[in-house]
Symmetry: C2
Subunit: 696 residues, 2 copies
């Protein structure tokens, strides 16, 4: 229980509240009926629970959807988008009846699944099952970290930054592996600020969930270290009573447990009280039909002739939700003002973090690496960059999915973010620590990073091998779709990882990640490019990035004009080595293969062939440049072009054109040392030079 | 307990067995030391357990690695590849000492992770954590289904087809979500033939697993419905005793439980008895160093001066493993011969399935669809194909990740594969049923399909929305890497799915899947192409396929020569509509966009422009054709080309060339009806015609 929370025990529940719930059920049926498709069932049966959250339980302000003190709500069951839209409409977040009636139509504020940035009050895009619940763990972790940055010494529940994260999850959310991973982390992290209501309706698209889902879910959550409760509105199957008082008591008990995340199994009947389709798969994902909608309204005591109807007094009542919480809000504002006065540095930090601005001069902290033929692995350079930024950017934090030492994702000397009792000899830490430990759970890592970003104030990163980006792909895509700056650190980026063999060697991953719209795939060629990569990524708050790093050493290039190169790097591609006049051929490389292009250019020069070398660390950034810059780097007149990248050629034809050549790998890797693999698979300077000659 | 199993209780364990285990530990250290990298720790500490399995517990025959009656072994902890290589060496599967010494080097039989098809005795490629354990659930399911096809009436444990699946799993395997999903399915399916040993060593790469992994694993597995046991070789932390008798007793108890899968938490000390590095993350994934290797040998009572040494009597003892089981093998052969005599149809079926041959004339069962402008969704056509094949191909079975009705993956009237007590009104079934229900667990579905294929006799398929191929990508890649014919049915293949919006609309997925080497991505354009797609996929046993199907209706094309079109289809691309003489432009489409190319060609014809329409259902098949056929379809002389596909253009430049145009979608979708989306996003016949004019 936090200070400033509205009281829900005893629950103040009136006839108007009952009417509001009935209205929600009818509107859910109307909205799906009108468009002819959608998911009415859960929106109908969960109406009382969602209403209880938005009208009685959660601390929020429809007039100020970004209020830093708000509780967060995550509709993990995103297909039941009406569950949130109808609450946003009733509470007054800006949705009106015409928006409800425009459900799932072009340009509406009420798309099929809730979309972040699209509809005020939606904290996260949900739809792919499991992602919401998994990201909610990130929300809850972020809340703790942010409190640690801003107000660590406040008594539990007394800080203006103490709040809860509420989740509504479906059977599907509970079956997805990403949720299992994240839920294990949530228990381990003892996230007492996380409260999940699981809609235990025993119906999914294949109807009775007994066909595939008979585990004991609450026992599983106990095993994860969660606080578990059961609220059964069917009274053991003997009837149906939407007992909001019982659910409120369970929510109270969940909040009282501050050392564990909570899950409440709420046994509902999907679509209740729809006369013939309740408790069937048929009401899950289809319009109900006019008769059934009418029957539902009759069962609710509503006029079956009316559609999209709400009584004025009901709407006035629900729109007053902020007024009902005004005393608590006032107390919160007082406490917040007191905190600002007492903590001017914290207040300044909060202001900066809220604006998503970087501190002035922060780039001075970035290391500069000496040119060196022996060089350094870009993963190692990345580790140095992170450590160098530790003091300057308190908002930057992250870790790895059990590959800390391999991913170089630990800032030297920073404590781990972990309950003290779970800190280890190797990783000391505490609840406000900085180094994240995801365990061997890449998918949860992705979703949790997204949740941390969405919570609002910090910049998290998480690392694994590039190969395992496959495990987290769904969450990476969501980051891109939501246009949020999650940072994925993917090391061991190619056959260069060597002996672990084809199960661990990325071949298609660069292409497959570039395929994701809105994801920046950044593959620096040397240590200095790695520093510039972090700079450009951190300066961008509009979309996610994958930072692709080598296991093996790569030379740190000599640079005549590092500032110019850095500027070019931020544009996605630049001329690293040039010739006098128009080149005979342009060699384009990324990451560890840029050195091969450089070597090849030297060999070609010895033959009197003038080759330009372009380092192209980020195709997406380069594509965003104006035609003039692109022409400057890749002159249309030079049709002889070669790309070199230790991965498939897919997508490179666009750069090299019909006259060009690609030096690539079109098959899986093998287990051997990196040098052997590069040689045997023909990713060599000689191959680049030969391709250049063939292209000219 | 099955008939024909070697007895392990009481365990016959001799001094030679002790010597063998010590030898394994030393060899593991030697092998990693020689190559300078790898994972010695687990191979050292698990030596007694692996030896117990291969020498005493499992029914197998090194001289006959494909023996249909063998137990299966899955090393889910693939990084500890020495754990299996050393057993294969000792048991005599063809590995010799020089192979052990060649660990992780180019061309060796002992790559970094075990690879299927590469090393005799390796049943599955493992390495990406979680995949082995998840696929083992497929092995166990396949064993039941195959028994149901061949010998359903035998008493439990009495059939020659009854056997066990043994798994060694690591902490990482237990943390991955794919394992959680699959383990829930295994409990639900009551897979009594599955036995997992979890190497509970409390060390992973980030050292003490307490930093990220503190859940109660066995309680979780109880919640899934598993039989759980604990064997603690540390005696509660008071010492260390590699009590193989205790582990054998636990294995016996696991086998005695025939109604539940079993997990045995085996508490070990990683690297024991390595003098200074045991029980540290340091011994997990690095060479130990010469001193430590010597110290290990001293601790084992072996000569520290000797490397790659094995006593003759030890090797002779372990190579005799088949002789030790000869009585049971003889009894098995007798029973098998009796079964063949009693069941000639079964014997014939077994012979056909073992040869991976399709029955003669099977294609006669394939439906032919009438031309129709209104047409039919390819997912619906696919459902009809499956139902039509049900009687002809008993080896074909499959289902969906809770989208049966949407994916059209159920063969009409076939029973579900589910314990009778979990059958539902909508899905009646029994333990030998055919329709698979994965629940909302796409990743486990992928891994389980792989396990079913690897078990050897059947052809499984599994469906979900194309969007959720992202969730199962790691298992899809493994199918391709293993070159096994898992079939993935991915419906709702584009913005054509409509109102569910951008979280459900694939944009980049076709490109991202085509990026996976060895995966056939097959996108039929109409109902008849869908039938041909199934035909070509089923005729291929060399690699996996993704079958990409529409939600919405597409016209069923008129065809002058269906046989020629079918032949062209199987080559990956063919001319669907042609012009007289050399065309002015070639329009290339896939799936639902082929109709737009046809429409555009008609509009162009009206303008006097001769356009050829190519349907290109499978880029991979087309790439495999000789240059002559490719030239026939895409004449080099015709540089004006347009591709049209409702997804990103990545990879299409290669087909259309510098003079060509692509009609594509480079951003996320939206929530609206399909028609609106196609129009608003410019995927129209007009856009194709305009692009054609621009290209000419």
């Amino acid at each position: 229980m936090n200070a400033f929370d509205p009281a829900i025990s005893p629950l103040d529940w009136s006839e108007l509240d009952d009417q509001a719930v009935k209205t929600i059920k009818a509107l859910a049926a109307d909205a799906v009926e009108k468009v002819g498709n959608g998911h009415p069932g859960t929106a109908i049966s969960l109406a009382p629970a969602a209403y209880l959250l938005f009208q009685k339980t959660m601390r929020h302000d429809p007039a100020d959807p970004h209020w830093v003190g708000r509780d967060r709500f995550v509709l993990s069951a995103g297909h039941s988008s009406l569950t949130i839209y109808l609450q946003l409409f009733l509470a007054g977040y800006g949705l009106e009846m015409e928006d409800i009636a425009a459900l799932r139509t072009w340009g509406s504020k009420t798309p099929g699944h809730p979309e972040f940035r699209h509809t005020a009050g939606v904290e996260i895009t949900t739809g792919p099952l499991g992602q919401g619940l998994a990201s909610s763990v990130g929300f809850a972790m972020a809340a703790r970290r942010e409190r640690g940055l801003l107000d660590p010494d406040a008594a539990p529940g007394e800080s203006p930054f103490d709040h809860h994260v509420y989740v509504i999850a479906s059977d599907g959310d509970l079956q997805e592996g990403v949720t299992s991973e994240a839920s294990s982390i949530a228990g381990h992290q003892q996230l007492g600020n996380l409260v999940v209501i699981w809609d235990d309706n025993k119906i999914s698209i294949e109807d009775d969930t007994d066909i595939a889902f008979t585990e004991d879910v609450l026992a599983r959550y106990e095993a994860y270290g969660w606080h578990t409760q059961r609220v059964d509105w069917t009274n053991g199957g003997t009837g149906y009573d939407e007992d909001v008082h019982g659910l409120a008591a369970a929510l109270d008990a969940a909040k009282a447990e501050t050392g564990k995340p909570s899950i409440i199994a709420l046994r509902t009947i999907i679509g209740y009280p729809s006369p013939t389709k309740q408790n069937t798969g048929g009401i899950h994902g289809s319009a109900m039909g006019a008769d059934e909608v009418a029957g539902l309204k009759v069962a609710l005591g509503l006029d079956p002739e009316q559609s999209f109807a709400i009584a004025d007094d009901v709407l006035a009542h629900t729109r007053a939700v902020a007024q009902h919480q005004s005393a608590q809000r006032e107390a919160w504002e007082t406490a917040f003002a007191a905190w600002k006065t007492a903590t001017p540095a914290g207040a300044a930090l909060l202001e900066r973090l809220t604006a998503h601005e970087l501190p002035e001069g922060w780039t001075d902290s970035l290391p500069v690496f000496e040119a060196s033929a022996k060089g350094v692995a870009t993963r190692a350079a990345s580790g140095k960059v992170l450590t160098a930024l530790a003091d300057t950017l308190p908002e930057l934090w992250g870790g790895s999915a059990d590959l800390a030492g391999s991913n170089n994702t630990t800032m030297d000397g920073e404590p781990s973010f972990v309950p003290v009792e779970h800190a280890t000899k190797k990783f000391p830490g505490h609840e406000y620590g900085r180094t994240l430990h995801f365990g061997i759970r890449e998918h949860a890592m992705g979703s949790i990073l997204n949740g941390i970003v969405l919570h609002g104030l910090t910049r998290p990163y998480g690392g694994t091998f590039l190969q395992f980006s496959d495990y987290m792909r769904a969450s990476v895509r969501l980051a891109a779709l939501m246009e949020i700056p999650s940072t994925f650190v993917w090391t061991h980026d190619s056959i260069g990882l060597g002996e672990d063999g084809p199960t661990h060697q990325p071949i298609e991953h660069l292409a497959a990640l570039r395929a994701i719209p809105g994801l920046d795939v950044v593959r620096p060629a040397d240590a200095n490019e790695t520093a510039w990569a972090w700079r450009t990524i951190l300066e961008n708050t509009a979309n996610p990035a994958g930072l692709i790093l080598t296991r093996q050493n790569v030379p740190t290039f000599e640079r005549a004009d590092a500032a110019a190169d850095a500027a070019g790097f931020a544009r996605g591609a630049y001329v690293l080595r040039d010739t006098e006049g128009t080149p005979d051929v342009v060699l384009v490389g990324t990451g560890s293969e840029v050195q091969l292009a450089v070597e090849a250019s030297e060999a070609l020069a010895a033959d009197g062939i003038a080759a330009r070398v372009v380092s192209m660390p980020c195709r997406e950034w380069f594509d965003a440049q104006d035609a003039g810059y692109r022409e400057q780097v890749l002159p249309a007149a030079v049709r002889a072009r070669v790309s070199v990248e230790a991965g498939i050629r897919q997508g490179w034809h666009e750069i090299v054109g019909d006259a060009g050549r690609t030096v690539s790998i079109e098959h899986y890797g093998a287990s051997a040392d990196a040098e052997t693999l590069y040689r045997e698979f023909g990713i060599t300077a000689e191959a680049v030079a030969d391709a250049a000659r063939a292209s000219i």
